[in-house]
């Protein structure tokens, strides 16, 4: 690629976390539209390919394997449930298990009995769909650190996001503090167990943590955190009214979805109005926050491409489901061999595209070269504002 082209595509900017989430949710939406085991496996393969190619070099990004294992567990649980509590679906009996008869009031619950090929296939297909969905979420979590997403939260949710950032950066410190208190007790030769140990370890840790909260608040206050900007009374009222209207719309739409008797002419507008009013209300409310962002994530062309890939996959799978049910949902009764078709396969290729088309991950600079702080900044260790904040707060004592 020419250097101009690379610049145009923003070769230097890392992919925006929101783009990864849109891509992964697109894949998840695609997976929810099919029970074809081959297509589901291909979606998992595409997600895994992109994860392997583009996962950041942080400890955070090692969790993808756990999601894969969890997916397998889901399929296994479903299969076991089907074998033990199967509902007599299908006619090709594989095994007869001893059956336990339950009384009349048990609403048709059956333990044991025939295990059929059709029933097993349907349980495994359905389990695979759920597992694929979980793997897609896992891919998003691995590729886009949700903590970076917090930085892109709208200002109206600034405080809630800040709470989460404080919590995430302080939880390890708490465990450290517990270890310190325990060591101090051991040095003093006390070795109480049970509820006594709780009092002598947990209470000092709690007191320390609460004291730290007060100190952190003072440090944040002194630097203008949580300061409310200039939003007129009118704008605040508009924002609140929009948010409440949005909530009402969402509530109406939710119950409309549940009840088939509600005409679509009520549910759909309620949903649209609800979402729109909530989002606009959040945007207007965001103006009350005056803040600058350190190293904001930018949504460049490459990020847009990643997001578009996800949307395209979802669209192609919806199209497949609309056009031919046999490909999206292979018949399990009678049991047929699942077929593949061109359109979903194109979708799979598009799903894997970000693995080559998105910005490559740059290895972090070596810690030993150059001054420490710029290096830490480059690695994102010092990135969170609060991380800096409470290091300061540790030095501030409030009387």
């Amino acid at each position: 690629m020419s250097s101009t082209g690379a610049r145009l595509l923003g070769a230097r900017l890392p992919t925006h976390p929101m783009a990864w989430w849109i891509w992964a949710l697109g894949l998840a939406a695609a997976a929810s539209r099919t029970t074809n085991p081959f297509l589901l496996l291909l979606i998992v393969a595409a997600a895994a390919f992109v994860v392997v190619a583009r996962r950041p070099l942080t400890t955070w990004a090692r969790g993808f394997r756990a999601y894969l294992i969890f997916g397998l567990v889901v399929v296994a649980i479903r299969t076991v449930f089907h074998i033990v509590l199967g509902g007599g679906y299908g006619e090709t009996v594989l095994v007869w298990l001893p059956e336990i008869m339950l009384p009349e009031w048990s609403a048709g619950i059956r333990i044991g009995g025939a295990v059929t090929a059709e029933g097993l296939a349907s349980a495994v297909y359905d389990g695979m769909r759920l597992a694929t969905l979980l793997v897609c979420v896992g891919a998003a979590v691995t590729l886009a650190d949700p903590r970076r997403l917090l930085k892109s939260l709208p200002g109206a949710l600034y405080e809630a996001g800040l709470v989460v950032v404080v919590a995430v950066s302080m939880a390890p410190a708490l465990i450290e503090s517990a270890v310190h208190v325990r060591r101090a007790r051991q040095l003093r030769g006390t070795s109480a167990r049970g509820s006594r140990a709780f009092r002598s370890i947990a209470m000092p840790v709690l007191d320390q943590a609460l004291g730290r909260a007060v100190a952190l608040a003072a440090a944040m206050d002194a630097r203008g955190y949580g300061r409310v900007g200039s939003l007129t009374v009118g704008a605040r009222r508009t924002s609140a009214a929009l948010l409440l209207a949005g909530l009402l719309g969402l509530c109406l739409a939710g119950y409309g979805l549940l009840d088939a008797a509600t005409p679509g002419s009520v549910t759909v507008p309620a949903l649209v109005v609800g979402v729109a009013a909530s989002v606009i209300g959040l945007v207007i409310g965001s103006r009350r926050m005056v803040r600058s962002r350190y190293r904001p994530d930018r949504f460049d062309l490459r990020s847009a491409l990643v997001a578009l890939c996800g949307l395209a996959v979802a669209a192609l799978f919806f199209l497949t489901e609309l056009s031919g049910l046999a490909i999206s949902h292979p018949s399990t009764f009678p049991l047929d061999w699942p077929q593949l078709a061109l359109i979903p396969l194109i979708g799979i290729a598009i799903a894997a595209l970000p693995g080559v088309a998105s910005t490559p991950i740059e290895p972090p600079p070596e810690l030993t070269q150059g001054p420490l702080v710029p290096n830490l900044l480059a690695q994102g260790v010092l990135e969170s504002e609060v991380g800096v904040g409470h290091r300061v707060a540790d030095r501030v004592r409030v009387r």
């Binding site: 509590l85 059956r110 109206a156 404080v166 509820s195 709690l206 007191d207 509530c251 939710g254």
Partner: protein, 282 residues
Amino acid sequence: MSIARTRPVSAGPPLAAGDARPVRIGARSASALVIATVFGIGAFGWPLLVSPDSGIAHGLDAPLIFGAMLLLVVAVVLALLADGGMDAKAVAMLGVLAAIGAALRPLGAGTAGVEPLFFILILGGRAFGPGFGFVQGATTLFASALLTGGVGPWLPFQMLGAAWIGLGAGLLPAVRGRREVALLCAYAAVACLLYGFVMNLSFWPFGLGPNTSVSFVPGDAVLDNLTRFAAFSLTTSLGWDLGRAITVTILVALTAAPVLRALRRAGRKAAFDPVVTFVPQR
């Protein structure tokens, strides 16, 4: 003067001595909480409410659609609560309590049902009021999901469920001493069982799928579906839910008095209630 700023802060009803209210609930956030609760009942109880020919009665769609909507609903409620007044002190206190909850969560992983997270949530909601409890529940679950990698379609449901527990703890009647501990223990047992029950209910069709004899049948009589649901709970999560209810109740019984004392002392030290206003010079 440039920093002249007067911001209406709802005073609220008079409080019992020593109870700080870092997150105030005004008329707006109160109505938001009511609407969100009504929506949440539908989102959690959808298997019992859905009509059989509704488009979302089958397959995986309902929990996903409701999950996405719930995320927006929780975001809107949090925005309205924050707008009602949440200063740096409230943010810091919430952050620390959410950190304690998130740090406690891995302790329970792997041990059936031991989830100590809920006890700090109940005590936090009790000491600092319903608004604080709501935000604490939502943010604790979110933060712990980030720390333990538990992000999934169930997260919005967990956030609202935990937020309800914190809110409820703040709304309990004002008693002190031993009666308070007894009240909190009873609340902890009921809340933990209900939490497990509604989480299970909303993900029962999603987690189990069709075609087993304990599966959800859309549009079947509520009682029959409930019987199958009870059988499903019995075989899967009842041990888990009971374990959680018992451990949380025991934790509350043992620690409520000292922990509440520490929280209330911190609340007094932080002095949440006095509101500083700048009056322009004339």
